[in-house]
Symmetry: C2
Subunit: 213 residues, 2 copies
């Protein structure tokens, strides 16, 4: 094919190399990045009702991991729903697409060497399973933030339960949209009773047990 | 509101803290991550026809930056079109949505402290402008990989031009879909003539000129 090129200099210097690069993907691999960072990269996936503590706990874990020198990032409603998923609503189909996009973005971040924490209700078992199956085994850690609807509704941190009860918000998980409880999560945090500190310690203990830090 | 809670322990320990965390976003900021990494984070956006060298040059730049100890990642067709954008085709609307998603993902990665290189045709001026405008000033560096259609078509690294000419691929940029040339890119690489090494050096010189490394 090189013979067809009139620009021999580019051909000799670039095209063959280009071919290699295009088809052999990045030369900087996840393995090299993990080595550079001195830690593995993986997803910590928090799931649970709104108000169950997912985002708070995810940020607390991130803070602790960052202090230990890790590369971390939290994907949550604040940075995803106004950006990557800003063109999605809360229908079942849109929720599925939202979780799919989050899963794909988290996968890219893990590839980039980052311990990626996600804090989304992610109500459907199948959607969480799909993300888990996208990842190499052990790279998807599911943490169930368990709190009763009663507790979450009384907390109502964002005031959304009240609006959902008043019919001002539709398809609100726990009110008029289902939440499918994890069957076999890596960890369950009973945030009805546990303090934030206790939840944080439980997550860190899990990461130590799994020897992934 | 705390008075309404029956679980006082959670209320006292968690809810107020939760409120702060939810509304004040992450405690680990981009600034802290940049400090941890000893370098700024930003987007290097490569645009140009298929075969103009975008991905090859992006990976060469990444290799060099990684060698210098930087945190880097390349978003390109290989890792985006099969994942995040796997439900999109090549119509004008789908291309726009593809670039939007890539922009949003790159923005998250920059927030996570990563020098994010993107290698996509990104044919529409407006779409590239939109990503640029999403980012703080100076955090979006546009690099135009300039090569004539004639050159790209003769290279035809992936064999797609041939298929497009044969009508087996529709909406192929340069054949039956437009490419809008950058008006004021941060750098133009004439990959008709330049070697990969020359292009790499030009990009590194630009980064040094901008004092962002």
């Amino acid at each position: 094919m090189c013979l067809e090129h009139s620009k021999e200099s580019f051909c000799k210097n670039n095209v063959n190399k280009m071919k290699n690069t295009v088809w052999h993907h990045a030369n900087v691999s996840r393995g090299l990045r993990n080595k550079q960072n001195h830690h593995k990269s993986f997803i910590i996936w928090f799931t649970g009702l709104s108000g169950s503590g997912k985002s708070t706990i995810a940020h607390a874990v991130e803070n602790e991991l960052f202090k230990q020198g890790c590369r971390t990032f939290v994907l949550d409603g604040d940075n995803v729903r106004h950006g990557l998923s800003s063109n999605l609503g809360f229908s079942e189909q849109d929720r599925k697409e939202n979780i799919r996009r989050i899963g794909e973005t988290a996968k890219l971040m893990v590839e980039a060497g980052i311990i990626t924490l996600t804090a989304f209700i992610s109500p459907y078992l199948q959607d969480r399973e799909r993300v888990k199956n996208m990842m190499p085994q052990g790279d998807f850690i599911e943490i169930y933030c368990k709190a009763t609807l009663d507790t979450c509704e009384r907390r109502d941190v964002k005031g959304f339960y009240k609006k959902a009860r008043a019919g001002k918000i539709k398809n609100y998980t726990g009110i008029d949209s289902p939440y499918e409880t994890p069957v076999n999560p890596d960890l369950t945090l009973n945030t009805d009773d546990q303090t934030l500190k206790e939840s944080l310690q439980a997550v860190l203990a899990l990461l130590n047990r799994k020897s992934i830090l």
